[in-house]
Symmetry: none
Subunit: 590 residues, 2 copies
């Protein structure tokens, strides 16, 4: 994407791209589109998207009219803009029929195979996004792992909007490429952008990488569906949320959760999301939805990654309608990738950034109302754009290196080294992506622990919502991958979805999470029992006679000693343990 070119466009759109290469094999590409000014109201129904289409992977995304204009504004956030709300910018005129522009829109891609990474991904015109008025929407569609490169797919899309409807953020993820298989980071750098924005009017600006679409639309196939028939198959078209259609070549997408949070006013925002039926159901119902995660030291997920943020912002407040503000420049930045190495020295992710946007998003998010501290509104934005455009810098060095290496076989480079590594998604005999499952299992554990949940809690909660077959043991085995790939494949989407929802509730508060999970909030650790010497003596006497009393015996003993039955049971457990350890030592010594 040429900076100058974009700048020249003067489109009231800001494109921020950020590429995060996950350890192992995932790459998350985040593209944020910010449109200054108010968004047009959504059509009665999102079907309009159907119109689009074409062998270019045009699908028929449906954009539903968002309901509940509860898009709550940022918390304290955007006082000014809100106030400014009065002066709404004129709607952006888009050539495509149904497309609605949102501000901002973030696209996150992840889990793309190397080969796929090289393929062009185009967001078709006609792609619809949620309007700011919509609280959130989620759509999911994905190619099967082995899908042809020509298949278009639907990607999860989540939008967060504000009352004013001025701004909102949509995020959807789609597979990118495995870092290892990439020629180098460069392969994934922004410079090599593969996204084509859907806004016809902004095309020049939006086209990061002009690549001829090579695919054709195909019916999206969710992983869940293919792998987990049992899982509730989702039909994108059926969802109420808006859908974005993207063309990708042979992309196999991993489910990604989409969540949103306002910067400063997170709480509120999140709450609204959580309480929004659409969103909630989307999360729960859509198998593939889950949050992106960062792998940690053991390849386990360190945390959920890409969520959106953004609350509406000052943009709307500031100024005139985007269309009317030619001055606003389109900004695109490429950032050199920043690597995040995990405990094992492995690259966890590469964070590359993009530019310009922070400001916008933030400003909005900002809780700090004190308005003008910074310069907001149209003028401010403009200035930024201008100044930044020039800034656009050359693609990061990494990219360069890669490029070079790739093009010329001469100098041994990173790419070569990389290439030496076996690549390609590991698919087992059944076409199951084992690597993907392994990764998820790790992530699941870390995420579970991050939420402070036990295997038991997860199992019980799932049993309650999904029916039996989710015992603590099952969870344990899944985490240990002590199950067959087939089973794992079946369990994965369920766990993914559940965990994502749990995280959502957790965002609303620990209390809410506990409520969601199991019920009793904040179950405290039982107070350590102190046995009286007499009790200890009695217990030991019983133990000598029978180290493994039956339930009835335990009950009797507890009753006689006047201790809680559970306490007595545990005492025996620990006593046996102690004896065992002791005996072992003896054995050892011997």
């Amino acid at each position: 994407m040429e900076v100058e070119e974009l700048a020249a466009n003067n489109a009231p759109l800001t494109i921020n791209e950020q590429v995060i290469v996950m350890s192992g094999q995932e790459t998350i590409r985040v593209l944020e589109l910010e449109v200054a000014g108010p968004l047009p109201a959504l059509g009665a129904d999102g079907k309009g998207a159907d119109a689009m289409a074409s062998e270019e992977g045009v699908a028929s995304p449906v954009l539903e009219p968002s309901r509940g204009g509860e898009g709550t504004p940022g918390p304290e956030g955007t006082p000014t803009q809100e106030g400014a709300g009065a002066a709404m910018a004129a709607p952006v005129e888009l050539p495509s029929p149904v497309v609605q522009a949102v501000t901002p829109v973030a696209l996150t891609s992840a889990l793309m195979t190397p080969a796929q990474a090289a393929l062009p991904i185009t967001v078709q015109a006609g792609t619809q996004f949620l309007t700011p008025d919509s609280l959130a929407a989620v759509m999911t569609g994905m190619m099967t792992p082995g899908a042809a490169a020509t298949q278009p797919f639907l990607i999860p899309l989540s939008m967060a909007g504000q009352m004013a409807g001025q701004q909102s953020l949509a995020v959807f993820t789609f597979p990118t490429a495995t870092m290892a298989t990439l020629p180098g980071l460069t392969a994934v750098t922004p410079a090599g952008g593969v996204l084509k924005l859907p806004f016809t009017g902004l095309q020049a600006a939006t086209v990061l990488n002009a690549v001829p679409p090579q695919l054709h639309a195909a019916s999206p196939q969710t992983v869940l569906q293919s792998n987990n028939p049992a899982a509730s198959p989702q039909k994108p078209a059926e969802t109420q949320v808006s859908v974005a259609t993207v063309q990708a070549a042979g992309i196999s997408i991993n489910p990604a959760v989409i969540s949103a949070a306002s910067l400063g006013a997170q709480p509120q925002f999140i709450s609204s999301l959580a309480t929004t039926p659409v969103f909630t159901s989307g999360i729960a119902g859509i198998p593939g939805i889950t949050s992106q995660i960062i792998t940690n030291a053991q390849g386990q997920v360190i945390g959920t990654l890409p969520f959106l943020l953004n609350p509406a912002a000052s943009l709307g407040a500031g100024g005139g309608s985007p269309a009317t503000l030619p001055a606003q420049t389109l900004q695109v930045q490429t950032v050199s990738p920043q690597l995040l190495v995990n405990a094992q020295g492995q690259i966890i992710a590469t964070i590359g950034g993009t530019a310009a946007q922070p400001a916008l998003l933030h400003s909005v998010a900002q809780t700090q109302p004190p308005a003008k501290p910074t310069v907001q509104g149209a003028a401010a934005v403009t200035a930024v754009s201008v100044s930044q455009a020039p800034v656009i810098i050359a693609p990061q060095p990494p990219s360069l290196k890669t490029m070079a290496a790739i093009s010329a076989a001469e100098t041994p480079t990173v790419s070569q080294l990389v290439s030496s590594k076996p690549q390609g998604p590991a698919l087992d005999d059944d076409g199951i992506n084992l690597e993907e499952i392994r990764e998820f299992a790790k992530n699941f554990k870390i995420r579970r622990l991050s939420l402070g949940l036990t295997q038991t809690q997860v199992g019980q909660a799932l049993t309650a919502t999904e029916g039996p077959a989710y015992s603590q043991s099952a969870i344990c085995r899944f985490e240990k991958l002590d199950i067959t790939p087939k089973s794992a494949q079946k369990l994965k989407p369920v766990l993914e979805r559940w965990l994502a929802e749990a995280e959502l509730w957790n965002q609303k508060g620990q209390q809410n999470l506990m409520e969601f999970v199991g019920g009793e909030p904040s179950k405290k650790r039982k107070r350590r029992t102190s046995f009286t010497p007499q009790a200890i003596e009695s217990l030991n006497t019983y133990f000598e006679k029978n180290a493994l009393p039956t339930g009835q015996e335990i009950t009797d003993i507890a009753k006689q000693l006047n201790y809680d039955r559970e306490v007595v049971r545990v005492w025996f457990c620990n006593r046996r343990q102690t004896l065992k350890n002791t005996s072992k030592l003896n054995v050892f010594q011997i």
Copy 2:
């Protein structure tokens, strides 16, 4: 940094700054300097840095002639240059004597107190960096927490280079500011850049924020030395690696681990680092060194963050010497922060690029007194500042619990104190940063778990290396902050150092970690006790010969091992199942 200005410079240097605001209170500022062209060989010793000096931070950096004129232009843009590799760029002429330029150089800052954040940090001229030829080097020096603002300090520096010596990456971290205490994210943003690059020739470009140096060189003091006399004290001067000197005002640095990994060739790179005596010792010996972490859902560290990466690359191949390539522009990018939301919906970190961030503006306006923070240094900053200012974000709401009541009678524990303090950098009566400790405790736990270590293992390992007083209980209580601030303050650096080292070993392999931790490598999990070890062994022997014994065989085995026939039968069932699952998984892992 004005883009134009930079560009005008035509310096073969690329500056990439990325700011990652950690949840709670840490900000990581990453500055990458890339110098196109080959690097000069390192001097005999890295002492050259001593020469550095002027209060302006201008020193006599030595810039080696970079080889491989890789100043690569934009990503895709400059494929050609790579090919040009043959033509080496002429060495860059630098006034300073000893400084060596490296490509790229990354600086990471973290854990700076708010007040400190506002202070200018200048990289003195004469700062030395490792040459590409060096595999890795680490230097650490830091101010004591209470050190005056005028003391310069050495920062950990790690370099990774390639054989060719063309490129390498150096990373060092230094404290930035506590997010909570900052006026907003903006406070920590790049806009308020405080780094002054050491390259005289590139000054215009490198000066993100022109701030008059306020400090003077002082002898670096490693945390290790102060906290862990036992640790092998490192003398920066003694190391062969290059050192970077930075001036900072009253900065108290947290130990940061520096590690490096090549992108594509990670394995190799890491290995080299690990095997490099200098590096290893540096890590082990330097107390302060630890990796940066990302806080997760529970405020716990999600993962270690900033490490370097970088493999040398094609850059070298490409081009002319930097000096001779005026065409190469200096690139500076500002990135809008990307928020990473954790499981609790809290912002884990803001990944943004750099510059200009709103933060500064904000900070200035709000809390930060330090005047002109916003526009500093040369003009470049100006432009960016202007545009981004608006973005300034509000600080996150840290823990708001203001609990209560610490009954005074006894010495309150950290957890009690922390909860009682509403906000701001919580410094207890002894000037201990409780918030920082709280954060660390959380991080420690996550990092420990990420390494798969138990409290017991940590305790035992520490007892072995640090002497008694590190029981499992102690570790447990530290994590739970069920100790007095004084104790925590004392324990923190030890744990920090140890964990960082453990992570380092872990990078070399799980085996190495176990060796480091406890001794017995890979102690296999004990089999369920129902069977004696001998029995298990026998069973496995039988299993190897025949995984599916006949009824008669089972009977015989049970008889011989003196176990119930049914027990043996079930054992075989489970054994087969396990093998099945495991084998499939293994296939995947490969």
